[in-house]
Amino acid sequence: MQPLLSQACWDTLYMVGWSTVIAVVGGLPLGILLVLTDRGGLLQNVAANKVIGQIVNVARSLPFIILMVALMNFTRTITGTTIGREAAIVPLAIGAIPFFARLVETAVREVDGGLVEAVQSMGGNTWTIVRKVLVPESLPSLISSTTTTIVALIGYSAMAGTVGAGGLGDIAIRYGYQRFETQLMWITVAILAVVISLIQFAGDYAARSVHRRGGRSGPAPRLRLLKAA
């Protein structure tokens, strides 16, 4: 039982870890672009904004299990297979990019426009503003958004069992549901609860410590965490 669970744990973390990395790499620029191209933004381009926004909305509203099936051909071109952990990472990451992008958009929008104006008055260009203002100033929120994304990805990864990717969700379904091994199911639930709590705790801690560096008191914004739950 133990090797089974530890393997499942490892599979979940592997899938979630890689897809988080890809989601952040892809979602961060996308979210910033959503803010910049919006009306009144630094790179105002209403048409582009509408197109990106629409893609993000559609991708977000697709149920993950459908996305996974729909992306099979794409997954095969990238990983060479549609089965296993690597194959699950592709739809997980693609599902998480728009999710994370929306969170980034909200976080970046909260940066005070006066700061942007100040850097413009110093002669800074858009890239400077992104690097020196938008990202560092919204960092606590961005960290919280990443935490939210990780937790959501753990949820999605339970469905990855359907493509033979393993993971804790897969154990709960195959052993807990199909074989009525209630004990094993409850163990997976407990492990998931612990893993999620640890991630949430670590994320909150990181967000708060970045926030506190700025000397502001009070907890890091948790609003977005609640929304995702």
Binding site: L115, V119, G123, G124, N125, K132, P136
Partner: protein
């Protein structure tokens, strides 16, 4: 140093047009502190933002230090390289300081130098030097959230000076501060103006700001400049709204058959005992309704509101006497036009 001509800014949103600036001609001389005063919505903010092209004017030109910035702006919404370089030579301070909360005080001051591509060593030397100049050398490693409002504005000023600008734009820099802090920040601006020969254009809605630091001032209403000039000129201009706002005296006439006269003294005239001379020469009783002496733009100025018995027609001779003494006389209830002719 800063010249705007025919500067017009029209905001369009959802088919509605709002004219924020309506043909503003402004001329700020090198090395002076120029204050633009007006109520909210008068167009001050648009004006100062048009000077460094943070707002793109709809029409008109802006020239700073001989460089036509409107020509650099190009057609697109984004600022090109040349305009950004020109901006880096114009410092700007803001009402809400606009410091990056994620950076230390020193790193905030270094930011413009990073944009200019200076090396790390150069940046920290310059930043510490500037923090010393604004009296915050000991706060270099603090974060903005740990500072008071006045300290934040000092950091804002240090940051604005990092690119060695010749011009400093101040957007209501003291409006979020208490009166005492306001004074110290204004004193700092004045010192910088004198020590570094910095030209300062400031906008404000507080008359006290103009009174304590400005060499010249302009009054803005509904997107137009309705009065402008050096503070001395303004105080000498009969019927000037700015002058009476800068230096108010109050007091009501005692009755119908009285003439109320505002007497403004500056320079030599302030030392002459004119009122007692007037009383003795014409044998009239003069009541003083209100009086004040103050320093406006570094000049000692006195203003007195006096009441003479009899109507204006009866007092033409004594008023003429006062004018002969080199005093500026405003008779209440008389058209400024008449006064202007009388003054000549």
């Amino acid at each position: 140093m800063i010249t705007t001509s025919g500067l017009t800014k029209v905001y369009r949103s959802r088919g509605r047009e709002v004219t924020a600036l309506d043909g503003v001609d402004l001329h700020v001389r090198e090395g002076e502190v120029y204050g633009v005063i007006g109520q909210s919505g008068a167009g001050k903010s648009s004006l100062i933002r048009c000077v460094n092209l943070l707002e793109k004017p709809t029409a008109g030109t802006v020239t700073v230090d001989g460089q036509d910035l409107t020509a650099l702006a190009g057609r697109g919404p984004r600022a090109g390289r040349e305009l950004r370089q020109a901006r880096s030579r114009i410092g700007m301070v803001f009402q809400h300081f606009n410091l990056l909360s994620s950076r230390t005080v020193q790193d905030n001051v270094e930011l413009p130098l990073e944009i200019l591509g200076k090396s790390g060593k150069e940046r920290s030397v310059k930043a510490l030097e500037l923090l010393d100049l604004v009296g915050l050398a000991d706060k270099a490693k603090a974060y903005p959230a740990q500072l008071s409002g006045g300290q934040k504005q000092r950091v804002g000023i240090a940051r604005a000076l990092a690119g060695d600008p010749k011009v400093l734009l101040s957007d209501e820099a003291t409006s979020a501060l208490d009166p005492e802090t306001t004074r110290s920040i204004l004193q700092l601006l004045r010192d910088l103006n004198q020590q570094l020969g910095l030209t300062v254009l400031l906008i404000t809605h507080e008359m006290d700001v103009v009174k304590s630091v400005c060499d010249s001032a302009a009054l803005m209403q509904n997107g137009r400049i309705v009065e402008s000039g050096t503070v001395t000129e303004l105080l000498a201009a009969p019927g000037s709204e700015l002058a009476s706002a800068l230096f108010p005296v109050s007091g009501e006439a005692g009755g119908e058959d009285r003439t109320v006269v505002d007497v403004t003294f500056h320079g030599e005239a302030a030392t002459q005992p004119v009122i007692s001379q007037l009383s003795r020469t014409y044998n009239i009783d003069i009541s003083i309704l209100g009086a004040a002496i103050d320093t406006v733009g570094g000049l000692q100025v006195g203003r007195m509101r006096i009441e003479l018995p009899g109507r204006y027609e009866d007092n033409v001779v004594p008023i003429g006497f006062l004018r002969e003494q080199g005093l500026q006389i405003d008779v209440l209830g008389q058209e400024p036009v008449l006064l202007k002719e009388g003054a000549k």
